[in-house]
Amino acid sequence: MSTALRSVGLLDVVSTTPPGPSGRAPCIHARLHRLATNLGEKCGLGAAAVAFLLALSLFPSRAHSLLYIDINAPGGKRMPIAVADFVAGPGDPSLSRAIPTILSADLVLTDLFDLVPPTAHMETVTAAHFSGMPLSFPGWKMIGAEAVVIGKVETRGDRLSIEMRLYDATQGTLLLGKRYTGTPGQLRSIVHRFANEIVYTFTGVRGVFGTEIAFTARSGKSRGKELYIVGMDGQDLRKVTGNLSYNLFPRWSPDGQWLAYTSFRTGVPVVFLRNVLTGAEKEVIRFGGSKAPGGFSPDGVWLYAGVSQAGNSDIYRVRVVGGALERIVEGWGLEVSPSPSPDGRQIAFVSDRGGSPQIYVKTIGVAGETRISNGAGYATSPSWSPAGDRIAYTARSGGRFIVATVAPDGSGYREVASVTDGDCEDPSFSPDGRSMVYTYRKRDYSALIVISTDGRRQRTLVSGLRDVGSPAWSPGR
């Protein structure tokens, strides 16, 4: 979690309801209730708006008018949305266009929205629209917008204040209103946060803006590898370590505050936990030879890792607090890359016990392990999807490495990312499960690519660094 994100000062988001446990859209009634409670605290509307929304929920026929996007419908229709120029108060007038640009870029990334271009906008939003004057919704509908976002921003010294509202243009109703304060440096974090709210409003699933990807790359002319972090939108790239040694295999803790990784900075490989906010570190695994963290249990209690002893790597887990070590999988083969399931009951891991590296699944505390890759070639680096229904891994096909997914029982193999002239490796799921990040390599060129889980869309996240690899997507924000 970036410092910026954590430091957003929130004025009026005290009532935001978290997403339902299933991650699916709540029922219409729950949505209305949520809207009602949300709106009650927004934008100075106070009790009047609460009352209005309570009244609205008494007329369920109105519910049909609520806009909704089904994210499970492949190739589904995108929602046309307009993001109006913001009203700029005291401070930087360029923010009037800069903020809608950031917000629009976020919305486009979701592949759920079509942006109505600003050149088509007819109504100029003014401060009066934030104090009672209604927008001309027929006008917004006429240019094709089903939803409209308006906002106003002001900067006073080191204090940034942004108010944003989302309207259903077809009904002229306020769907969402938030006021944020922070420092100018937190602008992107604030906008990402509102983008997540918009996505949640229409889909019932929290967006992933503001999440980050940790990875490794060689820095400058150094032969070593450092840890890096980049925003999921490709912004805010920064180097985390700077010791010129090998710093490898970053893995996020479930609270997004710590990275487990292997560092050679003391001369031998040691697994450290590093606080991404403060840079504070503590040693967690020194035992054994080569070692690589695989992932945390969902409750954050355990860190799973592959650790070699006498040349033979097994799967261990270590208590993050206290350091007690427990062997989970042992065998004569190399066992590495444990990825815990989202319910914490199972791990997927790599073993070459059958002669080549393959993916296996084990239930913790139960004897036996099941191979889920096809047994041929080379299958490594499993990553369990947040919903628990798929496991992504690096497979080998036609002499190339590709990213594939499979159900945890080994059925339903699907190729997601492959190219004829390079390798696609090391997949890691986004917290909403809609995307994966992976490493693309072709000779000396390497890049991180974000791809939709169905393989239909992809974009370059990071390029221009040397030898990038081991991407790990942070938990939701």
């Binding site: 988001v13 009244a55 490898l248 050679f264 030879g289 690589a292 040349g311």
Partner: protein, 189 residues
């Protein structure tokens, strides 16, 4: 539009009355300044991120990272060796006949220099996953160590470390480079 809004206001008026009787306790306070903004006890599920101006102080158990330590940088440098590398096949750790010959030379040296300490580095080519290669490098180094022990070298004189695919000898991306990079490298300590 006008019609819609007067309808709304009518509903509003009714609803406010209803709200007064059931919902007064839910009246929210919107803070206009300050960043603490704790939600009232009745507020449903607040966002829990505590606003903070500065990072919290480091944990007592976690001293700040020391400046780049020489041993950490030193590991990235290729150490010259008077001995040949032992080479391996793709995804394999068997010591082949050529490698056994090299190990014989190394064993003779170590037996005639009982004070010498030898570190065996295990390396891989750059294909495949970093974690798997890290473990594979360890297995290669250990295979060489075990072979040296079988030739009579005391185990106490030997140690292993794996660099996986992180430290290629040849940066190329072809069979020749890969063959050079799949190696055990001898470093006298």
């Amino acid at each position: 539009m006008k019609g819609t809004f007067s309808w709304k206001w009518a509903v509003l008026a009714l609803s406010i009355a209803a709200l007064m009787s059931v919902g007064c306790a839910k009246k929210q306070t919107v803070k206009s300044e300050g960043t603490e903004a704790p939600p009232s006890a009745s507020a449903p599920a607040p966002i829990t991120e505590a606003p903070m101006k500065e990072p919290p102080p480091p944990m007592a158990t976690a001293p700040a990272m020391p400046p780049a330590a020489a041993p950490g940088v030193a590991v990235t440098e290729e150490k010259m060796s008077q001995f040949d590398d032992v080479r391996f096949d793709f995804d394999k750790s068997e010591v082949k006949p050529d490698g056994r010959k090299t190990c014989g030379v190394v064993a003779d040296y170590l037996k005639s220099h009982p004070q010498a300490k030898m570190q065996i580095e295990g390396h891989c080519d750059d294909r495949g996953t970093a974690e798997y290669n890290m473990a594979l490098g360890e297995r290669r180094a250990t295979a060489v160590m075990n072979y040296l022990v079988s030739l009579g070298v005391p185990k106490a004189a030997l140690s292993t470390v794996s660099f996986g695919k992180e430290k290629p000898l040849d940066p190329g991306h072809n069979e020749e480079a890969w063959g050079k990079n799949r190696r055990a490298h001898f470093v006298l300590k």
